[in-house]
Amino acid sequence: MTNLLNINYYAVAPELVLIGFAFLVLILDLLLKGRDKAVLGYVTAFGLLVSIPVSYFTNEPVSFSGMVAADSFSAFFNIVFCVAAFLTTLISMDYMKKAKADRGEYYYITLFAVIGMMLMASANDFVNLYAGLELMALSFYVLVAFKINDNKSVEGALKYFVLGALSSGILLYGISFLYGYAGSTNFAEIARAASAGSSQNMFLILGVCLTVAGFAFKVALFPFHLWSPDAYEGAPTPVTALLSVGSKAAAFAVFLRFFAGSLAVLQPHWAMLIWVFSAATMLYGSVVGVSQKNIVRMLAYSSIAHAGIILIGLLVTNDKGSSGVLYYLLVYAFMNIGAFSVITLFVRNNGKGANICDYKGLASKRPWLAFFMALFMVSLAGIPPTGGFTAKFFILASAVNSRYYLLAGIAVVSTVISLFFYAKVIFYMYMKEADDASVFTASPGAALYNVVIVISAVATVLIGIFPSVFMDMAVQAVKPLLM
């Protein structure tokens, strides 16, 4: 019977490790009633660290009756999720204490969110995918609302919840049509049906359109982005960092596995849809980002623009495009979490720091902090020698290779427009004098922030200087998809 069910604990080892740690943290939280919750943060971070090598060595392509595909592709994503969650956990311990939301639930809900992302990355069946997606989404709804005494936090969570649930409904409706088309929810079965049957099947068209719309919500593509600036601004800043990196990467993992993997035969048919989404999203994100005064909202629009550029790599259904997506997501994780850590540190020190103009004169008071912030902005803008540049380069090169000239042109225009708002932050930090020097005084307990900022900065630069090492990893990772 066991053989028939194909139960393989090795295939889900990273998830099992994290589930174990989640329950450990849950029990510790009950035992440590009323005491300092920081120790829970350290246990969580340790669990995420342990899960990285476990993910790396997991390679079990088919298990649980074809439900789970724990191949090198999901291993790559699992590592990205664990690193992102590790860094955000380190900065959240102190932030949560300052925000008076220092409750133990935070840590194990974070772990459950990461487990949900991992399940999405390794899902090979829509049933499994949907369960993982909801695990991640429900965790994030709670995390965004975690500052329950803050109007913005709970409001952002409500908007995120309503639109997130709507997108789940649309996605499910799309899945039901794909199921009707192929007679199965398994990706491999759908791929078989797609390569055998006609591409003009109405169920297939409805299914693909609705599924894309559902995922467009999760990735925050224009015009399905409405929740993202509000949820990003309202959420506790470390949660915003994880949300913008983790949930986006997980949704792209599914996008890649399903569209570039299973539906690759039908690429000419869905390409137009993705093309329009990509172009609109890139332009919208960068244009609207220019007028933002709040730095978190600015980064939200920047993240929308980045999602548009990553979509190009999805459109180019070959190893160059797909590995470009993976590489981009890796770089994006580091540079975005770095930028959010600086913001978190800044908000924590002076209680404000949400507006770009608050960063006036940072360079003269805290030169190192300003330097790192500038580095992250430069990388997000895509200027060499940072990882942001090489990532954009790989994606655009793959687009040009596959003759998507117009789309590559739009990406360049969007990058140029977005330079404005990244440069604005640098301009305020370096060119303007501070009104009130007292807001920049460092307060104790910032050591962990500095660790996270330095790790992110070093990684951003290293990935930019030695792209081939990481690109090889990405190319290895996408191999199982493109067979």
């Binding site: 139960i7 809900i109 487990i115 399940l119 429900l138 329950i148 005494n149 088309y181 109405m202 409805l206």
Partner: protein, 173 residues
């Protein structure tokens, strides 16, 4: 023939009460209309020869989810919305857009490109429908089943983290 008559009865009631859900002015009325719709959906499941789904639908949706909704309506004391302007301004765009979506979808479904028989399940297999679903769920779908248990756990923890903890804070203030 009889089946067709029942299908139309159930679906007409379902659609009318669904429209009432989104157009009723008071949330309590919406909740009761929603219960009617959910019962019709359960009846539709019986027409589709799956009494198990019908039972689950009645137990979980009507029994648990709707009670939760009614509790929320009562506890939050929402009562009646202002009689004027209970809809967004955006309805002017949204309603036509949804109607267009419906017409397009209906066209695609009716034109459809599938080649399945209209026969439905053989009756013999359906006689043991619950048993077959159970075997499937603990066989092929064992893994998602376990994941769903985590989803329920996170819902439990999340609700406690948001609601119970908030009350403790209120008391301190």
């Amino acid at each position: 023939m009889m089946e067709q008559v029942f299908f139309y009865i159930f679906s007409i009631i379902a659609v009318i009460s669904a429209i009432s859900v989104i157009s009723a002015r008071s949330a309590v009325r919406s909740a009761f209309y929603l219960i009617i719709t959910l019962m019709q959906v359960a009846a539709i499941f019986i027409l589709l020869r799956s009494p198990f789904l019908a039972a689950v639908q009645v137990f979980i949706y009507v029994g648990a989810v709707m009670v939760l909704f009614l509790f929320a309506v009562m506890v939050l004391d929402i009562g009646r919305e202002k009689l004027v302007a209970y809809m967004h301004h955006q309805s002017v765009i949204a309603v036509p857009a949804v109607i267009v979506f419906f017409i397009m979808g209906a066209y695609m479904i009716i034109r459809g490109g599938w080649n399945v028989s209209n026969a439905g399940f053989p009756e013999a297999a359906l006689a043991k429908s619950s048993e077959v679903i159970g075997k499937e769920m603990f066989g092929r779908y064992l893994f998602p089943f376990e994941v769903v248990s985590l989803v329920l756990l996170i819902a439990l923890i999340g609700a406690v983290a948001l609601v119970l903890r908030g009350r403790e804070k209120d008391k301190q203030c």
